[in-house]
């Protein structure tokens, strides 16, 4: 780490030196605020399982690291020396560990609107989305077995969105979506889809698409498949399970319009439910596309290279005749072929029932064709063909070193193609615990079907079939459906469980149920008949059974259902111990040195403390002679040191200690008026004389819990005539007040930060919320995260600023003892009400 060179001039010149120190000091305070804010945000994210994206996580981690670094830099400028060099070493140590874990976002060089598939791989996933990235890789590995094509990039998507100012128009509707009920969600979704489908594709983009299409081999009648390849920023472990649209059998001149329609599918009800539940904002989901030559499929389907089975790891294929659109949408029962990847043999063939077949239509698009009764059980593929497809998939799995979810097709000539390949995320984990036995004696309504997603849930049965049913289905229901159709994903966030007559575990609805951790039981044959609407039932997917009524014992060991970005959360959990905990304790405890800083929070605290001490360094002759530092005598039992930056104290008074009446600083006088208000509890400890003060201080000490060392550190207050900066510590409560009050309204502000406490995080957080509510009631802008609260008021006339600071003083005194009393939210509210009523001596 490079050091900066410090101008060595003017230590003797007094004022300029002090001015510079003050400027750096204020930067350190600012950085301290910012760093603690990021730490609180991290804490809150992990504590309360807030959804977090990769971008959000990077932001918090980068924020705290850079601000900590700024504190170290500025501290070294102030002290001008090598004394804190060790801090740099400690910081670099931590940085190496943290940076190594937080994946850096690779430099995104512009790639253009279109990229040929041959030129695309997983390293370009951020430019083209996962599907295109992996398909490009598949083409490299399997060559002719992957149809040729090109990727439409995130730049094309953004150009399209920007061209129509869609981003801003959509953003204004997103809040409505999140807060709304199902009916309004459907409405918002419909409007968004309309908006996008009618938007204009910018000329540069359509030109690029047309050129790319022209470059594809094949005659004028070439047909293409235009598929979504969405980019969910930071979503590594996302299944992308059929939430977006794929358009098949598209003509050459139809690609531009197809692109627009695939982008619009980002706003379908099920797609929006999917990415909003996973915690993404609109801006974080980019709709790229993958355009490939259409395969005229005689048979198609999906394949999982890895599938946990009681007899060991298996490769599982699901096959249908015709185009594979029906393979995952629950409308047909596909053939299932199971293979043993070790011996490379087919071990089981289970034939399905196919009533409908999808094929390319004459003009454009696809059409459904009924299959006559006699032909419904014709196998979609031979075991030999199954092996052919599997070989391709295994080859890719080996090359990519991870299990894959593959879409495949076999054309009329018998040639095998891979249409899609993506990492298969942890099925074993998502299936949940090992299968459970049926509970003895519990009333069983239904004991069949296959676990599609683990866990258990209970609620009233709600039979869902039409869109109207979807919209009127109450939250907390056990949803029953005939087909496991992906359009039912919109119900998942609020459903207790979902039970389907048909449906496959590899299908779209099952995959999303697993991601959102909703218990799901499929292929039950007749759940829709057996389970009566309105009756309360308990679905135990792990036991593959449905009980009548609520069976508590099965419901109790549920994992909390949170929609999380697992990879991102895991990353945060890995770096959190290096950032969040404060292991440095008391300034005066042994071992308080840079060497004992174990976390970034330690470094931040150490720098803050060291800075203040440096500013107050009485070894500095210049300062000592200037009488800048005085001790404050006041009824408030805090050891206060005042640093006069100029004009803050009555120049006539020259003693080592000052009283409040000697303070000229306007904001400080207002604050102290509040803190010493006669109605406050503190009055009991008012000292009569200096000796009295000292004993009052001592008494206060012993009143508190013996674990605390409250008086270890004095509180520092910097003053001028109209500016104050207070850093106060009482026990483990830290308060900062930074304020300016003068006759110029635009310059006036008062900022207040309060953090910490000695009790549990719940109680500290309650106190922060209490402070937030009370200050907001007084007109402050507030912001509260975990046990940290920030409040600010500004640009008011001086009299209003005085009143605001007075209120802050009252509040600081009021909350001083409070965190041990805030045992519940109810009690907290009573303390809030008491304060608002002026009852400052209230005890619940």
């Amino acid at each position: 780490m490079k050091l900066f060179s410090i101008s060595k001039r003017n230590t003797a010149a007094g004022i300029p030196d002090l001015d510079r120190r003050i400027a750096w000091f204020r930067e350190i305070l600012h950085a301290n605020n910012a760093a603690l804010g990021f730490i609180a945000e991290l804490q809150e994210t992990l504590q309360f399982s807030n959804p977090v994206t990769k971008a959000g996580a990077s932001r918090m981690v980068t924020g705290v690291m850079v601000q900590a670094f700024r504190m170290i830099s500025n501290l070294m400028r102030i002290t001008g020396n090598e004394k804190h060099r060790e801090l740099i070493a400690r910081f670099n140590d931590l940085k190496a560990k943290i940076s190594g874990t937080v994946e850096l976002i690779p430099a995104l060089k512009p790639v253009g609107f279109v990229l040929p598939l041959a030129g695309v791989g997983p390293d370009l996933a951020e430019a083209v989305g996962m599907k295109s990235a992996y398909l490009g890789e598949a083409r490299r590995i399997l060559r002719a077995h992957v149809p040729s094509g090109f990727a439409i990039t995130v730049e094309a998507y953004r150009a399209f969105m920007a061209h129509n100012d869609l981003g801003a128009r959509i953003a204004s509707m997103m809040h409505g979506f999140r807060e709304g009920d199902l009916v309004s969600r459907f409405d918002t979704s419909a409007r968004l889809v309309q908006m996008v489908e009618h938007a204009q594709v910018p000329e540069e983009v359509s030109r690029a698409l047309e050129e790319a299409v022209a470059g594809l081999p094949g005659g004028p009648d070439l047909r293409m498949a235009v598929r979504s390849s969405a980019l969910h920023e930071g979503g590594h472990q996302m299944s992308f399970a059929g939430q977006y649209r794929s358009l098949l059998n598209v003509r050459r001149d139809g690609v531009v319009d197809a692109f627009r329609r695939v982008v619009a599918s980002k706003y379908s009800p099920q797609a929006m439910t999917y990415w909003t539940e996973r915690g993404f904002t609109d801006a974080e989901v980019a709709m790229c596309c993958c355009v490939v030559t259409m395969v005229d499929a005689a048979a198609a389907g999906v394949l999982y290279t890895f599938f946990p089975d009681s007899s060991g790891p298996r490769t599982i294929i699901q096959a249908v005749r015709g185009l594979g659109l029906t393979a995952g949408d629950g409308s047909v029962e596909p053939d299932t072929i199971t293979l043993d990847p070790a011996s490379r043999k087919v071990v089981e063939v289970r034939s399905g029932l196919q009533k409908i077949l999808v094929r390319s239509a004459e003009g454009e698009g696809t059409e459904e064709v009924m299959i006559c009764e006699a032909d419904r059980r014709i196998p979609a593929m031979t075991p030999k063909q199954a092996l052919l497809i599997s070989e391709l998939a295994w080859k890719m799995e080996t090359a990519l070193k991870r299990p894959l979810d593959v879409e495949w097709a076999i054309d009329r000539g018998g040639r095998a193609f891979i249409l899609q390949a993506r990492p298969l995320y942890d099925l074993a984990g998502r299936f949940g615990a090992a299968r459970r036995p049926v509970l003895e004696g519990a009333p069983v309504l239904l004991h069949k079907g296959t676990r599609a997603s683990g866990g258990a849930g209970a609620g009233p049965v709600c039979r869902v079939d039409t869109d109207l049913d979807i919209m009127s289905c109450p939250p907390g229901s056990v949803v029953t459906v005939g087909e496991a159709n992906p359009r039912f994903t919109v119900l998942l966030p609020r459903a207790a469980a979902i039970v389907a007559d048909m449906g496959e575990v590899t299908g779209h609805l099952a995959t999303v149920a697993r991601e959102l951790r909703v218990p799901a039981l499929f292929a039950t044959r007749d759940a829709t008949k057996v389970l009566k609407t309105g009756a309360t039932v308990t679905v135990d997917a792990d036991a593959e059974v449905v009980y009548a009524g609520r069976v508590e014992s099965v419901l109790t060991d549920k994992e909390p259902r949170t929609a999380v970005h697992d990879a991102v959360r895991e990353m945060l959990q890995t770096v959190a111990p290096l950032i969040i905990p404060l292991t440095l304790r008391d300034r005066f405890a042994s071992g308080y040195s840079p060497r004992t800083c174990r976390t970034i929070h330690d470094i931040v605290r150490f720098c803050h403390q060291a800075t203040i001490e440096a500013m107050f360094d009485l070894g500095d002759k210049a300062l000592r002679h200037s009488r800048s530092v005085r001790k404050l005598i006041s009824p408030v039992p805090i050891d206060c040191r005042i640093f006069n930056l100029g004009g803050g104290l009555d120049p006539g008074k020259d003693a080592d200690s000052v009283e409040i009446s000697d303070i000229v600083c306007r904001p400080m006088r207002a604050l102290w008026k509040g803190m010493t208000d006669p109605r406050l509890h503190w009055r009991q400890t008012r000292p009569v004389s200096l000796r009295g003060f000292m004993s009052a201080v001592v008494d206060y000490n012993f009143d508190l819990d013996a674990r605390l060392r409250p008086m270890g550190e004095p509180s520092y207050i910097f003053v001028t005539a109209d500016y104050m900066n207070l850093n106060s510590r009482i026990g483990y409560h830290f308060s900062t007040v930074d304020a300016r009050v003068c006759d110029t309204i635009e310059l006036n502000y008062a900022s207040f930060r309060f953090v910490g406490g000695s009790t549990s995080i719940e109680q500290r957080s309650r106190r922060a919320v209490l402070i937030e509510h009370l200050l907001a009631a007084r007109g402050f802008e507030t912001d509260c995260r975990a046990d940290l609260v920030n409040a600010r008021i500004r640009h008011r006339p001086p009299e209003e600023m005085d009143t605001a600071l007075f209120e802050v003083g009252l509040l600081m005194a009021y909350v001083n003892h409070l965190d041990m009393a805030l045992v519940s939210d109810e009690v907290t509210r009573r303390y809030e009400d008491a304060f608002l009523a002026g009852n400052y001596g209230f005890k619940a």
Partner: protein, 131 residues
């Protein structure tokens, strides 16, 4: 409040224009540049109180521009602004002498505050060497 002259450097037009407009409404005199080269040219023609620079730009990236600014316009404080948070780049920027490192989306007040602090500090310390 005194008018501050700020140079805003970002390759994304969609960011540059609205941000410049917002800053102007808050009495900041704002000049925009879409590349490092354009920025350096403008800096040689007029004086500014602060430069706000995007870290990632196609031809000359923000850190490269920062290096050049520290060399030729050492009094000018630089606030780095990035759409992609990166610990390494952020700290590198600080080591190279940037005043602050902000991440998009940035609140207008946060940016304004950083600009004011930067201008104040460099006015106070005219020939302070940072790197």
């Amino acid at each position: 409040m005194a008018d501050l002259k700020v140079l805003l450097v970002d390759d994304e037009q969609e960011f540059l224009e609205p941000m410049a407009a917002r800053l102007t409404r808050r009495s900041i005199s704002c000049t925009t540049a879409q590349s490092g080269e354009e920025a350096l040219r403008l800096l040689s023609q007029e004086s500014f109180d602060c430069a706000v620079v995007d870290v990632r730009m196609p031809s000359m990236d923000g850190l490269e521009l920062l290096r050049k600014i520290r060399k030729s316009f050492s009094n000018l404080p630089v606030v780095l602004l990035t759409g992609h948070a990166s610990v390494e780049l952020g700290i590198q920027g600080m080591e190279l002498g940037a005043f602050e490192y902000l991440m998009k989306p940035v609140e207008l007040d946060e940016l304004l505050d950083a600009i004011r602090r930067a201008a104040q500090e460099s006015a106070l310390i005219p020939d302070f060497q940072r790197a």
